[in-house]
């Protein structure tokens, strides 16, 4: 099953980034991604269609994140581990501070709001597609995004703790 090995080798980093932003936890991200890939591995030839296996894996990760009980909720860490590889110390410090703020804010969001944030601002999906993935109306996606942005605005940085005029939530 050489294609599967190539797929995991080539796409696992991107899948792990997606899972990590959803969960905010490196170990849980690995768990979700591994579970999705195990499913793919067991029926590789059945799911390789025109779009390839990646949409299936991403949907599986999202489904687990939204619908399944958190398996490692008690062990999630609010601060991400520093990235691998060399980094300037000042830059590293800034990143850790930013990460702390971001994970604190994201962890406070309900899972559906957090999923909307990641799908909208990391995956760049339109609201209609996000609504299809989440099983809700586009209006509900907009409401989730509004609530999420409101909370993130209040904690990300002091500059955003002041009320800002809402400028619409349709990208």
């Amino acid at each position: 099953m050489r294609d599967f090995d190539d797929f995991v080798t080539g796409r696992s980093a991107a899948l792990l980034r997606f899972a990590y932003l959803l969960t905010g936890d490196r170990h849980l991200a690995e768990d979700l991604t591994q579970e999705a890939l195990v499913r793919v591995h067991r029926r590789w030839h059945a799911i390789v269609g025109e779009d390839g296996p990646e949409p299936y894996v991403r949907r599986a990760i999202l489904r687990q994140y939204l619908s399944w009980r958190r398996r490692r909720a008690s062990t999630e860490r609010p601060i991400a581990s520093p990235p691998d590889g060399p980094a300037d110390l000042a830059d590293l410090a800034e990143r850790v501070v930013d990460a702390d703020e971001m994970w604190t804010a994201l962890r406070a969001l309900p899972r559906s709001q957090r999923a909307v944030v990641v799908l909208r601002y990391y995956e760049d999906l339109p609201d209609a597609e996000i609504a299809r993935l989440l099983g809700c109306a586009p209006a509900t996606v907009r409401v989730h995004a509004f609530h999420a942005l409101h909370r993130l605005r209040s904690v990300l940085t002091p500059a955003f703790s002041h009320p800002l005029p809402f400028r619409g939530d349709t990208s």
């Binding site: 995991v8 490196r26 809700c136 209006a139």
Partner: protein, 319 residues
């Protein structure tokens, strides 16, 4: 896009690189996949062995007294078709604010409460009107306001929405919310323009049988949840039986079964949930997920799924 949205996008892009490298992922996936394959084979072998032994021991009894399957007691005939009716309609012209894909006002059942949503014309806001038999909770800062000629309350909500609450009749309380917030006067004007024309939306599915003792607490365009008596209504799927419409290609692997002539797959987890996925043959996937404390027996799950008809207005949801 606002500054906050730019900031969120930037932070997500930057910190995505903090994700684990997954250097051992491929090996872990292969190991786990092999373990599950072995486990499945052992389970199948054990079942075959037990069945073979049972059949060998009871050939005469089977021949003399054919087994009849009793009607499962976990399912019952529904009292009525699943629909959601909201007694009021949005002001005329509200549909003009709907974006492509969202259609007109949306009626759904949310945590057991009929709910109506639509885009407020001339604003970026979405209005959500909920009907309940008791007065909805309001912040202590709520102030009196006249709504539709009745005494009501207005409040700016902690999450920055704005809300109006009023009572139409003895057991009909309404709450109208808007996100992002609009001026209270604007919202009161919207409430005043609500029309006493009921809006009824059928559930995305028609059921010939339903789980006995369960109550439907959520209906939207792609899913219906059946809530056990000992679980409070909410908008989640946890602790409930959920029927969803998806698209093929999302199937999880599992044991193959026949569901009224359609290929089905049964998947179970160590957490105690079971999912039956039925390929409808037209690109859509019917999913019946049982995440209840006392799960439906598999024959009932299959009979329940076999009695489900997908209505034309249903739209595939979560992937």
């Amino acid at each position: 896009m606002s500054d906050v949205e730019h900031r969120v996008r930037d932070l997500l892009q930057r910190h995505a690189t903090d994700a684990p490298a997954g250097a051992t992922l491929l090996a872990a996936v292969r190991t786990e996949s092999r373990r599950r394959t072995r486990r499945t084979r052992l389970l199948v072998a054990a079942v075959v062995t037990v069945l073979a032994g049972a059949l060998a021991a009871l050939p005469l009894r089977l021949a003399a007294a054919p087994v009849t399957v009793a009607a499962p007691s976990a399912l019952t005939t529904p009292d009525a078709s699943a629909t959601v009716t909201f007694p009021l309609s949005p002001p005329s012209g509200s549909e003009a604010g709907s974006e492509a894909g969202s259609g007109a006002a949306e009626v759904r059942l949310a945590a057991g409460l009929p709910t109506l949503s639509w885009s407020l014309p001339g604003t970026d806001a979405t209005a959500t009107l909920t009907m309940s038999p008791t007065r909805p909770a309001m912040p202590a800062t709520a102030t009196p306001a006249a709504v539709r000629g009745r005494p009501g309350l207005a409040a700016v909500l902690p999450d920055d929405g704005v809300s109006l609450v009023w009572q139409e009749s003895a057991e009909q309380w309404f709450e109208l919310r808007a996100y992002p917030p609009v001026p209270v006067d604007h919202l009161a004007g919207t409430a005043k323009s609500l029309m006493p024309v009921p809006v009824t939306t059928p559930a995305p599915f028609t059921f010939t049988v339903v789980p006995a003792g369960y109550t439907i607490d959520n209906i939207n365009t792609s899913a219906v949840t059946f809530c056990p008596a000992d679980v409070p209504f909410d908008q989640s799927f946890v602790g409930k039986i959920t029927v969803m419409l998806g698209v093929t290609g999302e199937q999880a692997p599992g044991r193959q079964v026949d569901v009224a002539g359609h290929p089905g797959t049964v998947t179970s987890s160590a957490d105690g949930w079971t999912a039956l996925q039925v390929d409808l043959g037209d690109g859509r996937l019917l999913v019946v997920q049982s995440a209840v404390r006392v799960p439906l027996p598999e024959p009932d799950l299959i009979r329940f799924a076999a009695g489900i008809t997908v209505n034309p207005a249903a739209t595939p949801g979560r992937g």
